[in-house]
Subunit: 182 residues, 2 copies
DNA sequence: TTAAAATATGCAACAAGTTGAATATAGTCT
DNA sequence: AGACTATATTCAACTTGTTGCATATTTTAA
């Protein structure tokens, strides 16, 4: 149930309240690197969180743009978030299409799987490239980072590790398919 | 939408039809290493797949045990599965509680996160140990494996890679938290 | 002897996630 | 002028996933 927690986490780190639209943008970058969702789900969840007292909203009237509702986290929401952090995490259950396909790979010519693995690898390569770019741009000197920055750095390192691992496996599988199958 | 495909994939590799109960057991081991689900969802999905003509069922009456329904994949189901394999895969969207917690780690004492990371690491270590055991037991000589075995081996290698990657990141994060935070 | 585990299937309620569309304004591009 | 992009929110329908419960029999363990 961490969508609500992701939203609370995005709001807790801010001086200024955010609109649903702003949050949706955040979920396309920063927090979106480890929690994916849609704007529809965000709006629905914001309404729920406000009803539960975790958030408060304020209507902002605009002339040149559509009106918006901006949300702030309440003390209750913050407490709830902190309590959730202290609960032990279980790893997210694995669900990976590619592995299901691999499981019955014998149903198709191996070239199909090789092609798919190459595509997957390229997606992960592009992500890794982006993460390395961030690392060079914002995280060159670890000792100079503040608390928040250090935690962001750990998030980034996780992404780098994750993508590099995927690339490694894709390459291993491609080589194996090319060499060990006749 | 790969639950249906996981079920089809589990049935396609068999000479004998399986009951929902048998499938649920499979989803606790082999195919369950990369697709998690519950028996309730399996029964629901089996009914749906039969209605769609992907599966056929047969009622088996038993005296010493409860009666059961056993399912086989149809030609249509098999074709559907093969077509799905050929569609390009996108990586499963990332959703990781621990990373959301890390994102707002500054809200709690670092010892809490270190403790959680150690717990997580131990879970992944235990999985890795199990996978290495499988590797030694069933996959020692790659050249002697048949087609199916080779694909199972690739699945196993993915699991090993995945778990080892997690352990590596957990250790890195633990060290970083211990040393780089004052 | 009582409890539990294993075998076997399913319903119901609810929560979470996906997909498509509707609405409205302002600015930019062709 | 018409199309597209950005801003901003929401509804509706549907699929997928989770949790708790209900039922029934036989074997095994405490």
């Amino acid at each position: 149930m961490a969508l609500s927690h992701s939203i609370l986490a995005t709001l807790v780190g801010r001086a200024k309240p955010l609109s649903g639209y702003d949050l949706a943008k955040e979920f396309n970058s920063s927090v979106g690197f480890f929690w994916k969702t849609t704007h529809q789900q965000i709006y629905r969840e914001l309404a729920k969180l406000e009803k539960e007292g975790m958030l408060t909203s304020e209507l902002v009237r605009q002339k040149d743009r559509p009106d918006k509702k901006i949300y702030s986290i309440t003390d209750y929401g913050r407490t709830h978030l902190v309590e959730w952090i202290a609960e032990p995490s279980v790893p997210t259950p694995i669900k990976e299409d590619m592995l299901v396909k691999m499981y019955v790979g014998f149903l198709v010519p191996k070239e199909i799987l090789i092609g798919e693995l190459e595509q997957l690898r390229d997606i992960h390569k592009e992500r890794l490239r982006l993460y390395h770019e961030y690392e060079k741009k914002y995280f060159l000197d670890v000792t100079k980072m503040n608390m928040k920055g250090k935690y962001r750095y750990l998030n980034l390192r996780s992404g780098i590790n994750f993508e590099a691992g995927h690339i490694k496996w894709c390459n291993e599988a491609i080589e194996f398919l090319k060499n060990e199958f006749e």
